[in-house]
Symmetry: C2
Subunit: 423 residues, 2 copies
């Protein structure tokens, strides 16, 4: 019966079986120490002489657990037998058991199937798995229903630019940039509160540390709201839950990365400022006139929020109409829309949507789009749709910012950018 | 403060506000009854005279809750004021408040954004949302990590047939048929146990009640197994959990569809028969020689399982090598592979995978594929991979069979088939 590395202490003095990967070999002549790695952690194996095994080989080992204060975690296994289940070639393309910070991002991604064996690199995705769970858990507790919408769409919701084209039998379709129209359909169908976890695609050519061409979008849509304030309230609730859970359960991952999450108290004080206020704050702090929020401005606003409000997040709302998509609910020359900035990066965009048929048709035209091409979408609003709105959190951006990763690509298992489509 | 329809009884005698859709209007002259629908259910509104409102309009209503034994659920609201939040056009393309069984599948799908307002149709997707939660919940409890892999791949894992082509900047990539190679990578990375919930694509031209060109795949992969028996054990555990939860929490949805789920006891007796045994059983029962499992055979085997073992499921394993993909672990001329049939339909395919580099290269060649094209994949196995295997459950097929839907397309919010790419 296999015992996991993390549970070795509980088997002190007993014969156990462990299975895993050969993480490190230290041959001292009369004795050989091997670190065995499994999904739960590591344990030190003690051999009288170096066994015939290579780094990263997968083995099954039997032996006796012994306390040893010098061993990592205080216990080790005196090995009686070892069986090699899968022998690794000796020419590892990158070092698995070293410090990943010494590997460049290109080396990490070029050798993705090997670099993911590094425990620190892999921990990014254990955290990401938990973020997925925490996100869904909170929304389910608030009576949200999870949906799965199609990623193949007949035309773009925002006019057809930035879309990847798919050969679909004898016609062309596109990869969806967002499930937003589907989320809205489901709110209007009577589900009222929906969320979706799914892939989103942007055929944008920029190659930066903050962009991916394929990413996981954590999408939320809610009916019977008054304004974007309700959405910011909801997102604050989601963040308090996710950060609270991370603090409670994922401390060891944060520690590996020297990271921390905002406290519950800090999250009660996320400032909400208008786009105009944001520009004024930036103009003053940067000593120049600022006309829009660029990456420099996003970083500076988060600095401001930390200084003035003690939290590394800031909501910016009331964007001008021309800066937001056609479906955004207007409020004079502004809109009921917002972004959330976290540690210098926009991780969310959201808004109340137009739910009135005539206003929507008018706005579609105002944006130079053709209402006929959006007839299926318009039908939702023709037959009664409650006031509603929503937002999306980019999973990889969020993960990047929680752990302080230098590139978003580190937070995607198999990232896709302009040049990279493998592995 | 809004009260949901399901909570009306608790507000007897009080002034409440309710919000929702006008589901049904019954004007009796001196009094008008309106059924209001929200995400939680319905409530009867009582007006002295018919208000100016159309079916499916969204309203906000204030009034007093009164007990009335004749009202559905025993309570109704005497309305004092009603505000129309969004007025529905009078020409509803299909009837929302009728029996969906009277609508054909084409009418339901052609008018998807309206047909989803029917509570019985929408209940399919409330159940599906819960199935997603139950699936993930069980796997997390068994120490599985959730992954999100790319759906854009450089080449097909199974030779390039049946793939949708995507224009990706200046090159062509394909929509993934399965995350299997990525699941395997993650097992070999040391995660050992992973699952993924994601879209899968099949560019197959058949248009049947059991096929979709885009579906949600519930994927599982586990390391350190001995054979496919371990995988069937795991899948049985998953099914016991999902069916147990459905029985506990989703009884009202089952009731609407006249459906039931297998009992926990029945699930302990799912037979496991070889492909050869399956053919022998079918030959005897159908009175003709049977060479492969076709839809007729799948239905008949489930009949057999119900008669002989009291359960509507059957595992078929030990498929011949030529019937399974190149990565399937051989066992003489057979393979360590299986299908799970449920109520006449294959809902799962799984196998132990080849984890030995040389055996994998040999098998790739045996299948007429080029190892060079799979170099990135092969690297996983060159550097130590534990014995492992996995399987996938099709979410829509599973939902279809739980509720007894006549077509799989009813179990997809926005289904994609050869002809349908909208809404």
């Amino acid at each position: 019966m296999r015992v996991l590395c993390k549970d070795i202490a509980g088997s002190n003095g007993q014969e156990v079986e462990v299975k895993g990967w050969i993480h490190r070999i230290r041959d001292l002549g009369g004795v050989c120490f091997i670190m065995l790695r499994d999904r739960s952690g590591m344990v030190q194996l003690v051999f009288e002489s170096a066994p015939d095994v290579t780094l990263e080989s997968v083995v099954s080992v039997e032996g006796t657990v012994q306390e040893n204060k010098k061993a990592p975690d205080g216990y080790e296994i005196q090995v009686s037998t070892m069986k090699v289940l899968s022998r690794a070639a000796a020419d590892l393309p990158i070092q698995v058991n070293g410090d990943p910070d010494k590997l460049g991002i290109e080396a990490i991604l070029d050798n993705r199937v090997i670099s993911l064996r590094n425990p620190k690199i892999r921990s990014i995705f254990h955290l990401q798995s938990n973020i997925l769970a925490y996100f869904a858990e909170y929304l389910r507790s608030q009576d949200f229903t999870e949906i799965k919408s199609s990623k193949l769409i007949g035309s773009g919701s925002e006019g057809g630019t930035g879309l990847f084209e798919v050969e679909y039998f004898d016609r062309k379709v596109y990869l969806a940039q967002s499930p937003q129209l589907y989320k809205q359909t489901m709110v209007a169908s009577g589900m009222e509160r929906v969320f979706e976890i799914g892939a989103a695609y942007r055929a944008e050519k920029h190659d930066t540390p903050r962009h991916l061409n394929e990413y996981v979008s954590l999408d939320v849509e809610m009916g019977f709201i008054e304004s974007d304030q309700d959405l910011m309230d909801l997102e604050t609730g989601i963040l308090k839950h996710i950060f609270g859970r991370i603090a409670e359960y994922d401390g060891s991952i944060l520690e590996q990365w020297g990271a921390s999450v905002p406290s519950q108290e800090a999250l009660d004080h996320i400032p909400r400022i208008s786009h105009d206020e944001a520009k004024a704050i930036l103009s003053e702090r940067l000593g120049k006139r600022v006309f829009e929020l660029n990456p420099e401005g996003e970083r500076e606003l988060c600095e401001w929020a930390l200084e003035k409000h003690g939290v590394e997040l800031v909501f910016v709302n009331a964007f001008p109409r021309k800066k937001r998509p056609f479906y955004t609910y207007p409020d004079g020359m502004k809109t009921m829309s917002f972004d959330l900035l976290f540690r210098g990066l926009e991780i969310t965009s959201g808004s109340r949507r137009i739910n009135e048929y005539d206003m929507l048709v008018e706005n579609i035209k105002r944006f130079g789009l053709d209402p006929a091409g959006l007839a299926g979408y318009l039908e939702v609003f023709k037959y009664g749709a409650p006031p509603h709105g929503g937002f999306a959190i980019g999973l990889e951006r969020f993960t990047q910012k929680v752990l302080g990763l230098s590139s978003i690509k580190e937070a995607s298992l198999f990232p896709r950018d302009r040049k990279r489509v493998a592995p």
